[in-house]
């Protein structure tokens, strides 16, 4: 069975808590909070004003640049405020507040559950629809999807790689989506293949989801050019570069995009959103979130409209367990620990909520580095984490650049594996941010 070639670790997958829990609709909130940054790139620009009445699907904010994404209203009601807002990590931003009234949808949105198989649109029309729907990568990076579908001049996509890996432990939303909406995902893949002009698509799924592999394989039989590739369990297989390596044995060079090796990667949840946008005129207004953890009363997979306060989602899952020490937005390897939950809405970026008990939350004390080299063996990018961490502490930015710190993908394998419990990434992250700033300055100076 295939997998990527360098490094990687095997965290316990802990998916048993929420696996195979059917996707459940979360009820509408009284007030929706819609942050203007829910993607990588420039913030979206609000096009509504206070007092406006909006329907579900109406444009609230338009993309604020080439790399940016529209935001459509996930609820119907009255815009009460557009202004400052602070997220669960304490970062300030802007958000649109809507008082929810009923559930009135734009008339052009097809809400019937029937499958729409035929797509007669031209590639550019498909891409325009995806852009209008505000679709971003739902696997974690939140990169605007339509931007990926427009290769730079001189580059041609050869293969669409579909990310059904879900390598983060605990999370099961993509797994459940494949089981319940496999046919929609297949149609979505066809649409993207047409938009990209490629004849081949590979769906990569890790073999801890055997039922999803079988289900997708069965569906793929009637779809020419789509194949399902079971992958050996290994983290971070869902990383874009690792997945391309695993699926087509090509390595994206340092600093380059997947298109360099002829690949475009999209997550299954993103592709489901593409299906809904193109075939049903339904913009991206909700996603499936996994709410899970050892002590959660009703762990499961919930379809949540964006803007719904996560407290309401947590209530669906039985409330915050008494043992809770840490609440993580996303998975345990790359997710971020929230300071608080009040005022934090579900949004495009939030793939799940993981509750860890206090004993699971405390990081063990650091010991001396014993130079065992396990971080070097674990790094999927072939870097030397022990060295990068040390150089960062010493603020040796030239050396950091020479040692390829910008290739670090933040996957956490080094910290996960370190027997001395060294917090290597705590050092590497600021070093990478600083080197990135230096590189941008240098590029700007070179332009002048």
């Amino acid at each position: 069975m295939r997998t990527f070639k360098i490094g990687g670790v095997h965290p316990r997958d802990n998916k048993q808590f929420s696996a195979h829990q059917p996707i459940t609709e979360c009820p509408l909130p009284k007030q929706a909070i819609i942050p203007l940054v829910q993607h990588i790139g420039a913030p979206a620009q609000a096009v509504v004003k206070e007092g406006d009445k909006v329907k579900v699907g109406e444009l609230l904010a338009k993309a604020g640049g080439f790399v940016s994404a529209n935001i459509c209203s996930p609820v119907s009601g009255t815009v009460t405020k557009i202004g400052d807002w602070t997220d669960a990590w304490g970062a300030p931003g802007q958000a649109i507040f809507i008082d929810v009234e009923g559930d009135e949808w734009l008339p052009e949105i097809n809400r019937k559950p029937d499958l729409e198989r035929q797509c007669t649109l031209e590639p550019q029309a498909i891409i325009d629809k995806i852009a209008a729907a505000g679709i971003v990568g739902l696997g974690g990076a939140c990169f605007p999807t339509h931007v990926k579908l427009l290769p730079p001049p001189g580059k041609k996509a050869e293969v669409l790689i579909v990310n059904g890996v879900e390598c983060e432990p605990y999370l099961t939303c993509d797994h459940q989506l494949m089981l319940e909406h496999g046919e929609e995902i297949m149609i979505g893949i066809k649409i993207l293949m047409k938009a990209l002009g490629v004849q081949r698509a590979i769906i990569g799924i890790e073999n801890n989801k055997k039922d999803a592999i079988e289900h997708m394989q069965k569906l793929a039989q009637s779809n020419l050019g789509i194949e399902v590739l079971p992958l050996k369990l290994r983290y971070p297989q869902g990383g874009e570069k690792q997945l391309i390596d695993a699926c087509i044995n090509r390595q994206v060079p340092s600093g380059a995009l997947p298109i360099e090796v002829g690949a475009v990667v999209d997550n299954v949840a993103t592709i489901f959103a593409v299906y809904e946008a193109v075939q049903k005129n339904k913009p991206l207004i909700s996603r499936v979130m996994t709410v899970t953890g050892k002590y959660v009363a009703k762990p499961g997979n919930y379809r949540v409209r964006f803007g719904t306060p996560i407290d309401e989602v947590i209530a669906m899952a039985g409330g915050v367990p008494a043992e809770t020490g840490k609440i993580i937005g996303g998975g345990p390897m790359m997710g971020r620990a929230m300071d608080h939950t009040e005022g934090m809405p579900a949004n495009k970026r939030l793939s799940g909520l993981l509750f860890l008990s206090e004993t699971e939350s405390v990081r063990p004390e650091q010991e001396n580095c014993i130079r065992c080299g396990k971080c070097v063996q674990a790094c999927p990018m072939g870097l030397e984490p022990y060295l990068l961490s040390r150089l960062s502490e010493l603020e040796m930015y030239d050396e950091l650049e020479k040692h390829d710190i910008m290739d670090c993908i933040d996957c956490g394998c080094c910290v996960f594996t370190c027997p001395a419990h060294r917090r290597l990434l705590d050092g590497i992250r600021p070093g990478k941010a600083k080197v990135g700033a230096i590189l941008r300055e240098r590029a700007a100076a070179a332009k002048k």
């Binding site: 316990r12 340092s254 993580i328 027997p419 992250r429």
Partner: protein
């Protein structure tokens, strides 16, 4: 408003720890230790006990009274391991006070002067051993012949090690010493003279394979050492430097099975702190050790050179750490 614990990702850990790794290495050494107790009796028990006790006490006292550290480090078991490895590198019948000096030097000079675990450039147990070898050459090369618990701890019957005879053979071309060598089977099972823990190649290989399977060490260092020694010995044979009574194959096997080779290859050279980080660094490190040990055995003054070979290559580790691992997406040159 309820506040929760925040810390940067990742939020889960493999569960691996320094202590676990040290414990696994100690476990892997146990078969060889049992073999040496069977061979050398009380001497093996007493020497190891003194060595471990003094190593742990030295680390504790230096931490507490010299470095004035708040946190004690003896719980990570690295001092226990150093003590055990030092004992493995001593003749079983050696005077107790020499063991004490060796242990104090190993931990005090070899490890704590540099700031404790992780900071030392040289393998502490070998620093202790080589110090003793230079300071007490006679006692350090007096090898009791294995007679189990009948082996006297003090004033035991002694004999030379197989490496001494091999050296004689190479130096003089005298094939009569070949009769003095233990059989290959005895070399494999460890019925021969030598340092306390190095004699039973079988037990050491079992322990080493266990460490590789448990992912405590990688194959690179032991395999490259063993392959280099085997190749060197084979070339010695092919180029006609062996007496007729010794076949090339036998010489290769004797080279591998005698002295501290297996102990060094699996347990001493693979010490995390003093070996390189990257796969290629480890291979070059191993090849260097294999080459140096055979040079010492063939032309040097000492019959055995494993300790020196490892220490010399320890000194090269900072340089070997300049070798980068294969980066993702980097074209192979």
């Amino acid at each position: 408003m309820a506040h929760f614990i925040t810390s940067p990702a990742p939020h889960v850990h493999s569960g691996d720890s320094v202590r676990r790794n040290m414990l696994l290495v100690i476990l892997a050494l146990l078969p060889a230790y049992v073999a040496s107790v069977i061979e050398f009796g009380w001497g093996a028990l007493i020497t190891a006990a003194i060595s471990i006790l003094v190593c742990v006490c030295t680390e504790y006292l230096i931490n507490r009274y010299v470095l004035k550290e708040q946190r004690q480090t003896i719980g990570d078991l690295s001092a226990v391991l150093t003590g055990l490895l030092l004992a493995f590198n001593l003749p079983s019948g050696i005077d107790w006070w020499i063991v004490v000096i060796g242990a104090v030097v190993a931990i005090g000079v070899g490890k704590m002067t540099f700031g404790g675990l992780g900071q030392n450039p040289f393998n502490p147990a070998l620093v202790g051993r080589v110090f003793l070898l230079i300071a007490y050459p006679a006692q350090m090369t007096t090898w009791p012949t294995p007679q189990g618990f009948d082996t006297k701890y003090i004033d035991a019957e002694t004999g030379a090690t197989p490496l001494y005879y091999l050296k004689q053979m190479l130096a003089t071309g005298d094939s009569s010493v070949i009769d003095q060598l233990p059989s290959l089977a005895d070399s494999f099972w460890g019925v021969m003279g030598g340092s306390l823990g190095e004699v039973c190649a079988f037990a050491l290989i079992i322990g080493g394979l266990f460490l590789i399977c448990a992912r405590v060490i990688t194959w690179h260092i032991p395999v490259s050492i063993i392959a280099t020694v085997a190749l060197f010995a084979a070339v010695t044979g092919w180029t006609g430097h062996l007496p007729e009574a010794m076949t090339t194959g036998d010489y290769v096997l004797y080279s591998l099975l005698s002295g501290g080779l297996m102990l060094g290859a699996f347990f001493m050279a693979t010490d995390y702190v003093t070996s390189p980080m990257s796969a290629w660094g480890k291979i070059i490190f191993g090849v260097g050790i294999g080459f140096i040990v055979m040079v010492i055995r063939t032309w040097g003054n000492y019959p055995e050179g494993m300790s020196f070979a490892i220490l010399i290559m320890n000194a090269c580790v900072p340089l070997l750490n300049k070798i980068r691992p294969q980066r993702f997406g980097e074209k192979k040159k």
